[in-house]
């Protein structure tokens, strides 16, 4: 970029000979301090002071800065009242409208130039309007759109298009209407008022050939045409003509052809009847339908929920899901997703390992802690007494070790073995000194009693109460005297089982209720055959009872085990 100095150099001007550009000092001047303080005009100072720092919610514009149309310089442009014809008209109707004189002159010159005449468009103001040239204009001619209707010769009509119920005359009338109203069937039908001309019918009476007699037949009973009759007639004609005229059709044409030949006036009429009936429903019917629809939706929703609940319970009751990955060994890592999972697991293990030496550094809490009846963390070491899938808090650790090999005794011992803390107590000692190991410790102190109490709480009040009564039945005191870690674990297991038991009971009740409903329905459906029904009911109930008993039994066993 050339600077001002370069330019001055080129022009041979001395340095500083040119006064500084005027814009510069302005720009350099400090911004006017008035800018932020500027008040909108027309507002009293006291009122403006009330605005405070924020702008008022209503925008106030200075009226001096309002919109002002751009002024073009020079004298006002002249306009003329052009006389013109519309290209869509054939009768040469001359209309007049206002146009800019310069544009108009261009058009007139062009027009006269084409005609090869001398160009002189200096029309004076005083000149008579009638002498103004008439300019043909075509910009609105494109709106003169006509539709295509099928056309045919007399021979074609005789050979292919004759119909029992349509005369040639009426067919022509229909085609004319279709053309006039551009396939707007509702309008065509509305205006359809075919009256056979008298002359043609007298002619045909004179004629004696069968053919003509057949043609004149429909004249005797003119039936009011429905909109479907009209459509059907035109579509059949179009389809026939298509098949006659087109040797081969492309797919689009063929589609059209099938569409045309598929038209069935009867179905169409039925459809319309239904549509009309749908519209003519009374308010009560509409309301009832609305009600039924919402009801149906509600039922569907609750059924879905019930199914989900049941499925969840079944899943809980069935044997724990075996770790398929571990069982399958290396074969399970065939898909890339599985491989990726494996990779991340290994990565996490690696990171855990690396973190351990850091844990011994200064400032890091030691992972060994002594719990003296006061358990500081919610997550204890996994115990064998509990199935792993029940305790979600422990799931994390169990997963992280899953691929590592099924036979790991305790997670902490495997993962921390290589960089184990300097002294490890034997398990017996650990039990003796009540030492436990934790993945993570929460800060602060909590009481074991609180923890036990928390276990008694369920999500709903009802459930909590039920758990309490069950525990009472089992003879568990409300306050457990020495809530050691071990006691807490056992108690947790116990409460879990009680919870499951309660769940089972609930579902059993639900299922029984459902069974009763189904029985009732069956009874209604079977109706007369009472004997068979009674037997069926007995059998059903018995089976059911047996199942639920066995379920209950299993639970009871579990509970007993825990108590022991």
């Amino acid at each position: 970029m050339a600077t001002g100095r370069d330019v001055r150099d080129m022009l041979g001007l001395a340095e500083g000979a040119v006064s500084k550009p005027t814009a510069q000092p302005k720009r350099a001047a400090p911004p006017k301090p008035t800018a932020p303080v500027r008040r909108p005009q027309g507002v009293a100072r006291e009122v403006a002071a009330l605005y405070g720092e924020r702008a008022p919610p209503v925008a106030i514009f200075e009226d001096t800065k309002g919109y002002r149309a751009k002024r073009t310089l020079g004298p006002a442009k002249k306009w003329v009242q052009e006389r013109f014809t519309n290209g869509a008209r054939s009768d040469g109707l001359v209309l007049r409208h206002w146009r800019r004189r310069d544009e108009w002159e261009v058009d007139v010159r062009k027009m006269k130039g084409e005609e090869g005449r001398e160009i002189n468009v200096d029309v004076k103001e005083e000149e008579k309007e009638a002498d103004m040239p008439v300019v043909p204009r075509r910009e609105f001619a494109k709106y003169n759109v006509e539709v295509d209707v099928p056309t045919f010769t007399d021979e074609e009509y005789e050979a292919h298009l004759r119909s029992e119920s349509w005369s040639r005359e009426e067919t022509d009338y229909l085609l004319q209407l279709v053309k006039d109203y551009s396939y707007r069937w509702a309008v065509i039908w509305d205006r359809y008022d075919f009256k056979p001309s008298q002359s043609s019918s007298t002619q045909e009476e004179q004629a004696t050939t069968d053919e003509v007699a057949l043609r004149s037949l429909p004249f005797q009973q003119p039936t009011p045409r429905t909109i479907e009759d009209l459509k059907s007639r035109l579509y059949t004609i179009s389809a026939k003509l298509m098949s006659l005229r087109l040797r081969e059709m492309d797919s689009e044409q063929y589609q059209l052809y099938t569409l045309l030949s598929c038209f069935d006036p009867v179905t169409e009429r039925n459809r319309k009847h239904l549509a009309a009936a749908l519209m003519n429903r009374t308010l009560d019917e509409v309301k009832e339908e609305e009600f039924l629809l919402t009801e149906l939706q509600r039922i569907n929703m609750s059924a879905l929920r019930l199914d989900a609940e049941r499925a969840e319970l079944r899943a809980r009751l069935e044997t724990p899901v075996v770790n398929t990955q571990a069982a399958a060994g290396i074969n399970s890592f065939t898909s890339s997703a599985a491989l990726h999972q494996l990779l991340t697991q290994l990565f996490h293990q690696e990171r855990n390992k690396k973190r351990v030496p850091g844990a011994n550094g200064p400032g890091q809490p030691n992972r060994l802690s002594i719990s003296t009846g006061v358990d500081a963390s919610g997550a204890g070491t996994p115990t064998q007494t509990m199935p792993p899938h029940l305790n979600s808090a422990r799931r994390q650790s169990s997963i992280s070790h899953a691929p590592g090999g099924g036979g790991a005794s305790t997670p902490s011992s495997t993962s921390h073995l290589p960089n184990a803390p300097p002294r490890l107590l034997s398990t017996i000692d650990q039990a003796r000194f009540n030492v436990s190991q934790h993945e993570r410790l929460t800060s602060g102190v909590s009481f074991g009693t609180d923890r036990l109490l928390k276990m008694r709480q369920a999500k709903s009040n009802v459930q909590t109460q039920k758990i309490a009564t069950s525990l009472q039945e089992l003879g568990v005191p409300e306050l457990i005297p020495v809530p050691t870690q071990k006691v807490a674990e056992v108690f947790e297991g116990l409460v879990g089982k009680v919870g499951r038991l309660l769940d089972v009971r609930k579902v059993r009740e639900k299922e029984e209720g459902e069974r009763r409903i189904l029985e009732g329905m069956r009874k209604v459906r079977v109706g007369g055959a009472e004997k068979g029904e009674g037997e069926g009911e007995d059998g059903g109930e018995g089976g059911k009872r047996k199942r639920s008993e066995s379920l209950g039994g299993r639970e009871e066993e579990g509970v007993k085990k825990v108590r022991v």
Binding site: E139, V187, D190, K287
Partner: protein
């Protein structure tokens, strides 16, 4: 130049305005509206009623019809069936509506503008008219410059249409002419090409199904329950109140003193010496003026959803605050329940006020029944679409709560469709919808090709209007 296909509609953004200074004329029973196409209000709105003195030219314009000349009769060019009856006067009236405000007359013709009529003695006036008649012969035809678009009711018979084009072409000498139905134009004014147009005017209520800018003729319904019917209902209400409510038009009151509500009026009335009083029809016309005021300020349509005589409606109405009205002679009253009764007959024939001269209206003439009949005549596929575009027009629909009631009635008839009323909020748009639609139509460039030109008229005769204005 791009061409349009026959199957695709022009794009929405395509604006094809091109004004050719056409004149739009919308003759109604109460007023005749005229103005230039492209403007948004008719410049000229003059009463369709005209003054008539024996053996004289009819007197047009507000000044003439409200001036109590001796023996002045007030007449209307429309017949009771909603078709123009008095063609001679109609043609002069329309010409007056156009020339008095739009195209103007040649200077030096002050006799025709109506301003000087009242001051002259009868004899003089008569002479002037003769002179004028001679003038007319020499005069250019009044509308040779401008194409003319006229409106017509949906039921206009062929004969009337042919007569109209004859007047326009031969008497006015228009270069181009077109006739369009008020229903279509009212729909256009609301930006709709399809819909059901409910027009409650002065003499007739009409319901017109319109599809793509064309009237579905079988569906067109009309009934005499409109503005004039409401006026007669108010008269009956006044008569049946005890004591009877006096109805004195303005021209009979010289001066008045304020009185308490319900008290007899204390006014000085104007006396007409025998022979100098205007005709009875003048009084009726002037009374109707007061009644229109009453409609504007007091009458209210019971909004529904229940009818006025069903359930607790009447009780609720009683608890509503009343509306005061003062007659020209000072009599005044606060109207409470009664104000709901005047227009109830539009919707519920059994609720109409009746006496010996005013029999109970027919059930099928009520607006809900008209709508039902109109919809019934339309192809089932189009009905829901039409019901979602219900255009409300005509000055009588300005009655307070009219649209609410209409919406409720239609919702009750068709509970399962989406029924939407399109009722312009502005008074002008509601009153002059048909004219405004005509103004839009005649200022479109694409409309150039639809005009019936003088040449075409001369070639094909007046029947061309049937072929072209479909």
């Amino acid at each position: 130049m791009n061409t349009l296909s026959s199957s695709a509609a022009p794009t929405a953004g395509e604006y094809a305005g091109d004004e050719v200074s056409a004149i739009v004329l919308d003759p109604g029973y109460a007023t005749t509206r005229a103005g230039f196409a492209g403007e948004d209000v008719p410049k000229s709105v003059c009463p369709t009623f005209y003054g008539y003195l024996d053996n004289q030219q009819p007197l047009f314009g507000e000044n003439a019809v409200h001036n109590p000349l001796a023996n002045l009769q007030i007449k209307n060019v429309w017949g009771s069936d909603g078709v123009v009856e008095d063609w001679d006067t109609a043609s002069k009236l329309w010409e007056y509506a156009i020339t008095s405000r739009l195209t103007g007359r040649k200077p030096g013709d002050p006799t025709k503008n109506g301003l000087n009529d009242g001051n002259k003695a009868e004899g003089e006036n008569g002479q002037d008219m003769d002179v004028e008649m001679e003038d007319v012969e020499n005069q250019e035809k009044p509308l040779e410059e401008s194409p003319l678009l006229m409106t017509e009711p949906g039921w206009n018979p062929t004969k009337a249409r042919e007569k109209t084009i004859e007047i326009a072409m031969e008497e006015y000498g228009v270069p181009a002419f077109y006739l369009q139905k008020t229903g279509v134009l009212a729909a256009f004014a609301s930006g709709k090409a399809s819909g059901i147009v409910i027009d409650v005017g002065a003499s007739h209520t009409s319901v017109t199904p319109v599809l793509d800018g064309m009237v579905l003729k079988k569906g067109v319904q009309k009934s005499p329950l409109a503005g004039n019917f409401i006026s007669s209902q108010i008269r009956l209400l006044f008569k049946n109140t005890t004591p009877e409510i006096p109805l004195t038009p303005h021209y009979l009151v010289k001066s008045k003193t304020p009185v308490d509500a319900g008290a007899p009026p204390q006014a000085v009335y104007r006396e007409f010496p025998s022979g100098s009083a205007p005709h009875d029809s003048f009084r009726v016309f002037q009374e109707d003026r007061v009644l229109t005021e009453f409609k504007e300020s007091v009458v209210e349509v019971w909004p529904g959803p229940q009818r006025f005589h069903q359930g607790p409606s009447e009780e609720i109405a009683k608890s509503q605050p009343g509306r005061p009205f003062e007659m020209p002679d000072g009599w005044n009253q606060v109207f409470t329940v009664d104000r709901y009764k005047a227009a109830e007959g539009l919707f519920d024939a059994s609720a109409a006020q009746v006496d010996a001269n005013n029999p109970r209206p027919k059930d099928e003439h009520t607006i809900p029944r008209l709508v039902q009949a109109a919809v019934q005549q339309v192809d089932a596929d189009q009905r829901p679409m039409l019901l979602s575009n219900i255009v409300v027009t005509g000055a009588s629909t300005l009655l307070y709560k009219f649209t609410e009631r209409l919406q409720n009635e239609i919702n009750q008839l068709y509970p399962s469709t989406r029924n939407k009323l399109v009722a312009p909020g502005s008074v002008v748009e509601r009153k002059y919808a048909a004219w405004i639609g005509g103004s839009i139509l005649a200022s479109l460039g694409s409309f150039h090709q639809l005009w019936i030109s003088k040449k075409e008229y001369e070639e094909h005769g007046s029947n061309i209007v049937e072929k072209r204005c479909r």
